[in-house]
Assembly symmetry: C2
Homo-oligomer: 354 residues x 2
């Protein structure tokens, strides 16, 4: 692990990198969509979130994450935050290799990791020298297993977390962008005779102005409606539970595990997992727009997955089957919030987290 200088690294261009929906807002790329056993086409749990500004967040990182990341077409150098759900190997086993690889790149980079108690120790045990010798600042934020709340409140977004219900402590995450001001309509402003300069800035900031001829102009006369931010929730491994509904409330995209088909509810509950029907119920109850189902047991081939998802659309109509390396946009839809109030408190009995 010691043969590389920054100058030596030559990244191969993936021959079949996915087409990325850059410039259309945030999107996710599932890197691994199988449950505990990888198949030839579905790797272990890991999902990249690419922000509008290019920053990349990673949710979980099972074995193989660094290779899938390379294949994704996104850059390791943009990775800024990692969120880990729980300490089962198939959800964190690829993080050490990924971070060691970034350290070998030798370019200064800050990475904040949020996850369960104990994960920092694992990192130092396996790649301590890499962490100590590279110009990478890696900060660990270990969360108590019953912690729920906001862990990041930045200018443009928040991230919050809540316990889920699995066989060991597990937690989900919610990424929520703050709304952005509406679009300034220059043509309308010209027609109203608003001069270039500070007046236009005031309107953009939401303040009314008075023109020299005495006419009042309200912001909404020239500025479009506030643009909602994207909301993404990531819930795995978990039974159908309150924590997941909480995190997914009004989300535009909910990535939720669906280890089993709808007929295996009792088995799912016993093993701390969800069926596709459970995931659809969480999505419906939370008023989430689109369910991105993943973490499928290897007992299902692709046809079986399509069939179990088709049936679950009776519970929640918009379900997308996650595929490794297939980007999924998080489309902010103003109408999503409307359905939340009505559905959020209804629905089947739920497991509490932890």
């Amino acid at each position: 692990m010691s043969e590389h200088d920054a100058s030596e690294l030559r990244e191969e261009s993936p021959s079949e990198a996915p087409r990325l929906p850059h410039g259309q807002g945030a999107f996710v790329i599932p890197l691994g969509t199988s449950s505990a056993i990888p198949t030839l086409t579905r790797g272990l749990a890991a999902t990249l979130l690419a922000r509008r500004d290019g920053q990349v967040f990673l949710f979980d990182g099972g074995e193989g994450t660094q290779l899938r990341f390379l294949q994704s077409g996104l850059s390791y150098g943009k990775l800024r935050r990692i969120f880990v759900t729980h300490l089962h190997l198939d959800h964190y086993g690829g993080l050490f290799g990924l971070v060691a690889r970034i350290c070998m790149g030798n370019t200064p980079q800050e990475i904040d990791l949020y996850g369960p108690q104990g994960i920092e120790g694992f990192f130092y045990q396996h790649i301590g020298n890499s962490l100590r010798n590279a110009p990478i600042v890696m900060r660990f934020h270990e969360l108590d297993s019953d912690f729920a709340g906001v862990i990041l409140d930045e200018e443009e977004f928040t991230v919050s977390t809540a316990p889920l219900s699995h066989v060991i402590p597990s937690r989900g995450y919610r990424y929520e962008e703050k709304p952005r001001p509406g679009v300034f309509d220059g043509a309308k402003a010209d027609a109203l005779g608003i001069p270039f300069g500070p007046e236009r800035g005031k309107l953009l900031r939401g303040e009314a102005i008075q023109l020299p001829d005495g006419r009042a102009v309200e912001p909404q006369d020239v500025v479009g409606p506030e643009r909602p931010g994207a909301i993404f929730a990531y819930c795995t491994d978990t039974r159908r539970c309150k924590g997941a509904v909480h995190l997914a409330r009004g989300a535009h995209l909910l990535q939720h595990e669906a280890t089993y088909d709808g007929s295996l509810g009792a088995l799912a509950k016993k093993r701390g997992h969800s069926t596709i029907d459970h995931a659809a119920q969480v999505a419906a109850q939370a008023g989430a727009h689109t369910l991105l189902a993943f973490h499928f047991s290897t007992r299902y081939d692709e046809r079986a997955i399509r069939e179990m998802v088709k049936k679950a659309r009776a519970i929640h109509p918009r379900i997308v089957i996650a595929r490794d390396l297939k980007p999924v946009p998080i489309l902010p839809r103003p109408e999503v919030g409307d359905t939340v109030a009505a559905s959020a408190e209804a629905g089947p009995d739920l497991e509490s987290g932890v």
Copy 2:
């Protein structure tokens, strides 16, 4: 990691599994042939050895081993022994996932692991529940960093080990099959009038017999020469060193790291690695037949690897470039031993191990 029963497992057939040279004696399949950073075509260090009887041994197991193993066409269920060279993540990071996956198969299986101090603790830390709850018997044999000698002496083969020279303790391994009796020539025996029955058995076991008509028959009259067993040595990560020459003596196949091209000897030495020229020198000095070069720095593309190997053939003519999933037979060649005596003590100054 808890959703699987033995009955549920459905192994996908790799669509492009390599053609395996079954029935032709032992062979190896490199699963990963890059150095510390995987590329799209070369994974992290791991090599399978398939024995004549179908048992599979694994040398190292970097991240991605379980997936490459699945792709190899060999069966997890045949894995019997694991040999680990050193505690750098790129050489062991995939072992936990591999063994956890075998545990999920839930079929009784015995696995012996030989490797550095501390590796057992890692296993229990990351997949302790899998190990405790599955019917897998996993035995750990932790070796002191300066240990050299025989670690396995079975009816058909031995495995020995010796320290190498790296930046942390590292060791190589030598797998050596015991010779098998020669082939019984039935046609010759018929011509000599040797009756079916115990006489033929005696000849096969190396005993002379006397026929009823008084003629004596020596074993060599009807039994071919003893068939030499395959000898394979695995040496990584290491500088050019005495331990490697010792392990590779008279080997039919020496898999040796070749991180750098021949011009970077000083850098290789500093970082505890070998150039392709170093590897070729070890092969020549040990009288090994074929050098299987691997563990190439990502600074080299395939063309550069071919060129550096081509140059090194001036030092040792038979060098094969290892490729992920490409099987390499270990062909026992009776003539190999002849060259050993002459060359074994010559050659450049070597690093001592550890």
